[in-house]
Subunit: 237 residues, 2 copies
Amino acid sequence: MTDQPTTSIWLRPERSGRGPAPTFDRDRLAAAGVALADTHGLAAVTMRAVAQSLGSAPASLYRYVTTRDELLELMIDQVNGEMCYDGLGTGRWLGDLLALARQGRGTYLRHPWLLDALASRSPLGPEAVGYLEHALAALADHPATWRTRLEAVSVMNSVVASLSRAEITRQLPGQTAPQWQQAQQEYLADVVASGRHPYLTAALAQAAPAAGPEPADRIFDRIITRVLTGLLGADGV
Amino acid sequence: MTDQPTTSIWLRPERSGRGPAPTFDRDRLAAAGVALADTHGLAAVTMRAVAQSLGSAPASLYRYVTTRDELLELMIDQVNGEMCYDGLGTGRWLGDLLALARQGRGTYLRHPWLLDALASRSPLGPEAVGYLEHALAALADHPATWRTRLEAVSVMNSVVASLSRAEITRQLPGQTAPQWQQAQQEYLADVVASGRHPYLTAALAQAAPAAGPEPADRIFDRIITRVLTGLLGADGV
DNA sequence: GACTTACTGCGATCGATGTTCGCAGTTCTG
DNA sequence: CAGAACTGCGAACATCGATCGCAGTAAGTC
């Protein structure tokens, strides 16, 4: 009945030298989970499914991870590791932060399940910490409180997530139309037809057509830039 | 085998005149779910639990709702109905939008589960539509594209959610410390102690102490205001 | 080299949950 | 009054996360 002194998976040693060598490691579990989630969605990341894709048994996974949530944490951190920090440190904080935001967008678009996984979780693995460090480094010379900088980075992250979610939602209706979205579209059509809600009707009429003339990249850059300058000032330094 | 022509619950009639009068209605289901979620968290909103709290059987709920997700949709819309739109239409869009943001914050703080429920869902019930209409009405005289206005409202909503989440997270560790947060704190302490990540260390050192001198309301107002002025210009008109 | 210790994979199983099926009863329609 | 269309719901099913305990294996200890 020895209490596990550390509860965070990032502080728990992966192996402690005794017994047979483990067949896998945390990275392989995470990779298997990511592969499953990429192709079949987050709901497909079942302990049984992951085990089967590794040629193992469900119970075996619990040698590497104490709970499914921990597996998701591993997956999140693994895709966070796809970020690349080259070309940063230009001295222009706005450009640096925008570059980080773009990479975040790329990660979200590559792994749509990430938004769902991040939803009710506060994921702070090593890679997330590294990201935060780089984001704050970009603001090293900025004349603002640490608190304000932290706020700005946090708000930027949430806006990046929100914009990416919108893009993903508007993107997949190609074929995988998830049925609840179609129901929503149906309801919106009814709302418009009802005549009440004139403003919403006008907005939808002009916002919908053909994804607009402006490409998604441009919209993203524009919004992120405006949010950041609103929070941190206009001087790109 | 008659296909249900409409899939959205908001277009499906609640009752169609035949048979015995239903014991409950959608509002009562939603209210029961909200009560459960408010006191015991979203995970406690089980079909069985809701049924029991209504003095009914689990299978009976499916007479009112085709799936648990629909029940959550009802709950979300019900708490969205707590918003009050009095005092709006002042002619100053910034003040109007800020008032809406504040109400959103209040709803989140009153119903912490709402953040989890909203996470992987795109909730567009009648109340959400009403909210959108009012938000867009506040921007009626603003010289910006409909698209830009829609973007601004959307970004504001996601920032409101993000700030509220941060507040809730920082608030409940009073006693209900959810254990994963404690694990995260533990890991962060280790990161700080490691010496790498100097920027993060500095930021945490200054951001942590005693919630700072600035009250949460002020921080919220300041961030929302700056984000909105960044997106829509400085003139409060 | 034998014994202990601490691990490994995993079959079997438990408890909980969302959901379905079908039946008996009830009310409206024609 | 007959049938259609509903009502609540007991019983069950499928699936999932997680646990327990056992047999096997490698390291530490003397």
